[in-house]
Structure formats: C-alpha cells, structure tokens
C-alpha cells in the first residue's frame, strides 16, 4: 500500500522514502520492552501513581511536622492543620497514613525479595539437578502447602511480638511455593537447550550454569511475579492485622490502620476508614497494573501492545 503511494511522489523524496522504508530502526530488547511498557496506558498510570506514593511516603515525613503521637483532640474534622483529621486517640491521620505506606511498602518489598530468592534458588536447583533434589523440593512445597500458615505465624508472634520484620519474614516463608513451581517447570525445558550444553562443554560449574546461564533466562517471569508478590503482600499483611497476628505498635502499617479504623464504619467517622482503604487500593492496584504491563511488555510472542 505505502509502496504505491510512495511511487507517485517526486523522485528525490521517493528515494529518501524508500531508504526509510527498508531501514528498520534497530532496537535492543530493552528498548522494545520499555516502549511497550510506556505505551501500556494502565501500566504507565500505575507507575506514576506508585512513584507519587513513594515520594509522598518518604518526603511526607520530612515535610509534615505532625507526629503519630496522640497529641490532638479526638475525631477532629479535616482542616489545614490536619488534612485527614484525627482518629479516636487524637493522632494525626495524615502522619499515620504516611507511616503506614512506608511500613507496608517496606514489608512488601522484603517479602518479594524473600520469595524471589527462595523460589528461584529452590526451583532452579530442583529443575536442573532433578533426582532426589527435585523430589525433596517438591515434597517441601507440598509440606508448606499443607501446613496451616496460621500456626507458623502464631509461633513467630510468640518470639517476635509483631514487629514488621516478623510479618515480612512470615509472609515470605509462606508464599514462595508458586514461584518455585513455575521456575522449576521453566528450568526443566531450559536445561535441554543448546546453550546449556555449550556451557557444560566449556567446563562451567553447575552453580555457574544454574545462576549465570539458566536463571537470567527466567528473568521475565521473576520480574513479573516479584511485582505481583508486592501487591499480594500488602493485602496479606492487612489480613494478618485483622486476625490480630500482624504488625503491632510501635510499628505500624496500612493493614493495622485499616483494622483500627474499620470500627468507625457504622459511625459518622467512617471516612477515616474509607481514606485508608483508598490508599491501600491505590497501592495494590497500581502495583498490579505495573505487573500486568510488565507481563505484556516482556512477552516475546506479543508484537502489539494490548490496550
């Protein structure tokens, strides 16, 4: 179609056009992925929101002078001194939410790191070595799936008394199984590929083959699932707070705040709950959007960006 159109324009321009036509600009994979990601509308919006929230949480504490101590009146309405009002104990809600986002994101990132480290190591080792190592990892996954997570968190709560580190470690230790299974499945087929054979022929050691040759080939899946784990961890942390096994003061989190403010729901102060919930939804929604966008952008089978 374009060829016909181009044929009719004056010669000098046509020459330039043909030249352009047959020169496809070379783009590295990274550039392709970045372009696809930026064109993914929801992913772009999600990234902007999450960056804004991180800035809000980090800079907020520097610029917002109110602390999280009960220094003020109970249930003050929103005003210039307390933009989100105060809660029952007389704590400034804006300061609480800023701290809550900090802790929730911190927990979520630690969970994602733990899940990736455990999941990738076990999955790759099991898939590559096979044999008894594979069976051992598989049975370990089964064991963790059957073992009631509440018992584990109960034990940890006895020892660590609801610090954010405990919550993060617990969530990491009980959610790595899915990624392990996925990575194991991928490695099972990757280990038969020529490049692995080549590495072996060159005398690479087993750890080197696994972590330098095979794991980088799973990076797409790892990146996407790390992102989605962050979104999941924010929600799981909230669930733990609800059953009373989550973060305890002096640490705080969005989940703990939600659990405190849900008691106001039937009262006139219900908006304290809604505003906290809005931040939780904003965090996990935008992280989910980013994960979705990354999945689409990294998918090698895809040549078009889905709307």
């Amino acid at each position: 179609m374009t060829d016909i159109l181009r044929a009719q324009v004056p010669e000098s321009e046509a020459e330039a056009a043909t030249e352009r036509e047959f020169t496809v600009q070379a783009r590295s994979r990274r550039q392709v992925v970045a372009r696809r990601f930026v064109r993914h509308k929801t992913a772009l919006i999600g990234s902007i929101i999450i960056i804004a929230l991180i800035l809000f949480a980090v800079l907020g504490q520097l610029f917002w002078s109110a602390g999280i101590n009960p220094d003020y009146g109970s249930f003050l309405p929103p005003s210039s001194t307390h933009p989100f009002g105060t809660d029952q104990l007389g704590r400034d809600m804006l300061a609480l939410i800023i701290r809550g986002i900090q802790f929730s994101l911190l927990i979520a990132v630690v969970v994602a790191i733990l899940v990736v480290v455990i999941g990738v190591t076990l999955g790759a080792v099991a898939g590559y070595l096979g044999g008894w190592q594979d069976s051992l990892v598989n049975r370990l996954v089964d064991l963790m799936l059957i073992l009631p997570a509440i018992v584990v968190v109960g034990v940890m709560a006895v020892k660590f008394q609801g610090s954010w580190v405990m919550v993060a470690v617990f969530l990491g230790l009980t959610t790595w199984m899915t990624l392990t299974r996925i990575i194991r499945g991928m490695v099972l087929s990757l280990r038969e590929k020529e490049f692995v054979e080549a590495a072996k022929a060159l005398g690479a050691s087993t750890p080197r083959i696994i972590f330098k040759h095979i794991v980088p080939n799973c990076s797409d899946v790892i990146i996407v699932s790390a992102t989605l784990t962050i979104a999941q961890a924010v929600l799981l942390e909230a669930a733990l707070s609800f059953i009373g096994l989550g973060v305890k003061p002096p640490d705080t989190s969005l989940g703990l705040l939600l659990n405190e403010t849900q008691n106001y729901l039937p009262t006139a102060n219900a908006w304290l709950f809604w505003i906290t919930l809005a931040f939780v939804v904003l965090v996990s929604l935008s992280v989910n959007f980013i994960g979705d966008g990354l999945r689409d952008a990294l998918d090698p089978r895809q040549d078009k960006v889905r709307a």
Partner: protein, 337 residues
C-alpha cells in the same frame, strides 16, 4: 495411571506423617497451653495447687517427653481416637465431633461458594474473551482489578455493614430483617417452603458473595486469557472455515481446551477451601474450619490443631491428585508417570 495414583498416595502418607510431626513441634513452640491456668491457680492457692496442676498436666499428657507424646497421639489417631482438648479452664471436649462440625459448616459455605465462583467465573471469562474490548469486558476487567486490590476483610466488613443498613431499611418499611450477619441460625429454617428458601438466601447471601467476589475475579481472568489463546489457534480457524456454527466453535472446540488452566487452579483451590476461610468466617460469625483453627492456635490446643491439619491435609493431597488426573481427561496428550 493406577501405578501413578498408588505411588502418589503412598508418598502422601509419608508426607502427612512428616507434616504432622513438624506441626506438633510448632504447636509445642507456641507455648504451654496449661501454663497460664497453672499460674492463676498458684496465685489463688499458694502451695496447695500443685496436685491439681500436676493432674492437669498428666491428663493432657504434657508430663511425658515430646517424642512420647507424638507417638501416643499418632497411635491413638490412626485407631480413631483423636484426643480431647487440654485447656484445663473448661471441661475437656472430644476433638473429632468439633472438627467434623466445623468441616460440615465450611463445606456448606466455603465449598459451595468456590464451586459457584468457578462456574460463574469461567462462563463470564469465555464471554469476555469472545466479546473482547466490549463494555461488558471492560466492566468485568475493572471489577476484577478492584477485587485484586481490595483486602478481603474490608470487603467482608463493608458487606456486613451494608447488610445491616439494608435490614434497617427493610424494618423501617414494615418488613422483617432479612440478611443474617451473625452466622447460621441455631434454630434452622422454619415455615413454608418459600419462606425457608427466603430465610436460606438471607443467611447465605452475604458470606457467599464475599467468598465468591475474589475467586470469581481470578477464574474470570484465567478463563479469559486462556480462551483468547485458544481462539487464535489454527484449529479454531479451521472449524470456522468449515462452517461450524459460532456457538459450537466457542463452547465445543475452544471452551474445552481453554478449561485446562481453570480446572487446575480450581481443583487446587477447592482442596484448600476445606481449610475454611478465616476472614469471612470470622466476620460473619460462622464457626467453620478457619475460625476453629485461629481459636485453637490462640488456645495452643495441640490435638485440635493436629486433627485440623490431618483432615485438611487429606483434602489438599486428594484434590492435588485429582487435578493431575483431570489434566489427562481434558488433554489426552498428557501422560502421568
């Protein structure tokens, strides 16, 4: 296949033994279930409570070593004696009837909701894939993303408060309160058949909606993406080229193949559904498996937790196995070995 099933079942028995041992050790680390009570007794009756405390420890079997206790529990358990609660503050209760009672509640509530979610979710998933980028697709997608971003307990609490306010509206207009937000009615259902159905809906509606909302979103998304994959495959185009009707192509050719991921996720989810839904059960006051687990972890009841573990473990293992068998039925190319 038979060999595969037998091998898996044998491994599962060993697995359950290992899990129960690990769990027993964890419960041990939870702390002494009698300690608090014993301290209270000593305070109330200094010097004279030792005999009663020793008796309580002996009755709970806590005067013997860890390994002896595990062995005693195991031999009793396999012969059908699941033990009793050890908390000395109340009369000891048999573990088995309590677990079975909770299991029955969970099956009626959580299991039904999960199965409904799978059915509705996969049908909606197909429709959104067929009508991609229609307003229906956008609404379902937006709903799904919202559900993925909403903490479950917030959804439950919102539904509960909404239900109570809906009841208030009913009452102000001269009707009876309909939606029940505090568990299964102890008296059961009464009255004519229509009346019973009405009451039944009032009891189950909110917790079922709460349980379904998120699972529904998961299944709808899975079904949508796998259906999109299948719809763009060659054999679907061939079927269309041969003039097969649209309905037949979608529901007979494409749907069956697109069902594989949903069946896998679904059967694993159903397996874990027997462990109850802690948050929904707590908010709506149903004493199902999730509720009973949290309660007994708080009370540090070893035999209740172990019985819970064994019952739910069997279901999880069983449905894992069924998922593998379902693969072979849906896709004859898959072979188990």
């Amino acid at each position: 296949m038979v060999a595969f099933v037998i091998r898996r079942l044998l491994i599962s028995v060993v697995l359950l033994l290992v899990v129960s041992f690990v769990c027993f050790a964890l419960v041990q680390m939870l702390g002494d279930p009698i300690g608090e009570w014993a301290a209270g007794q000593r305070q109330r009756n200094p010097g004279g409570a030792d005999a009663a405390i020793a008796a309580a420890y002996q009755r709970a079997g806590l005067d013997t070593s860890f390994l002896t206790r595990y062995w005693t529990w195991l031999t009793n358990f396999v012969t059908g004696n699941w033990g009793t609660t050890v908390n000395p503050g109340q009369t000891p209760k048999e573990v088995e009837p309590q677990i079975m009672h909770s299991l029955w509640i969970t099956m009626r509530l959580v299991l039904v909701a999960e199965i409904l979610a799978i059915m509705v979710g996969s049908i909606v998933g197909v429709l959104t894939a067929v009508k991609r980028y229609s307003w229906f697709d956008y609404i379902i997608t937006a709903f799904s993303f919202l559900m993925f971003a909403l903490p479950l307990f917030c959804l439950a609490v919102i539904l509960k408060i909404g239900g109570i306010q809906f009841n208030n509206v009913l009452q102000n207009n001269g009707f009876d309160r309909w939606l029940v937000t505090s568990g299964y009615p102890p008296g059961g259902f009464t009255g004519s058949f229509g009346n019973q159905v009405y009451q039944y809906l009032g009891v189950y509606l909110l917790p079922t909606l709460c349980l379904m909302a998120i699972s529904f979103a998961v299944y709808a998304r899975y079904q949508r993406s796998s259906m999109l994959d299948v719809l763009s495959s060659d054999y679907v185009r061939t079927a269309r080229a041969k003039g097969v009707s649209n309905t037949t192509v979608i529901w007979k050719h494409a749907f069956r193949n697109a069902l594989i991921p949903v069946v896998t996720v679904g059967s694993l989810q159903i397996g874990t559904a027997f462990a109850g839904a802690i948050i929904t059960e707590t908010v709506f006051g149903w004493q199902g498996m999730g509720y009973i687990l949290v309660q007994n972890v708080n009370r540090k009841e070893p035999y209740m937790i172990l019985a819970f573990l064994m019952v739910t473990g069997v279901f999880i293992i069983l449905f894992n196995l069924l998922a593998d068998i379902a693969y072979t039925l849906l896709d004859p190319r898959v072979r188990l070995d």
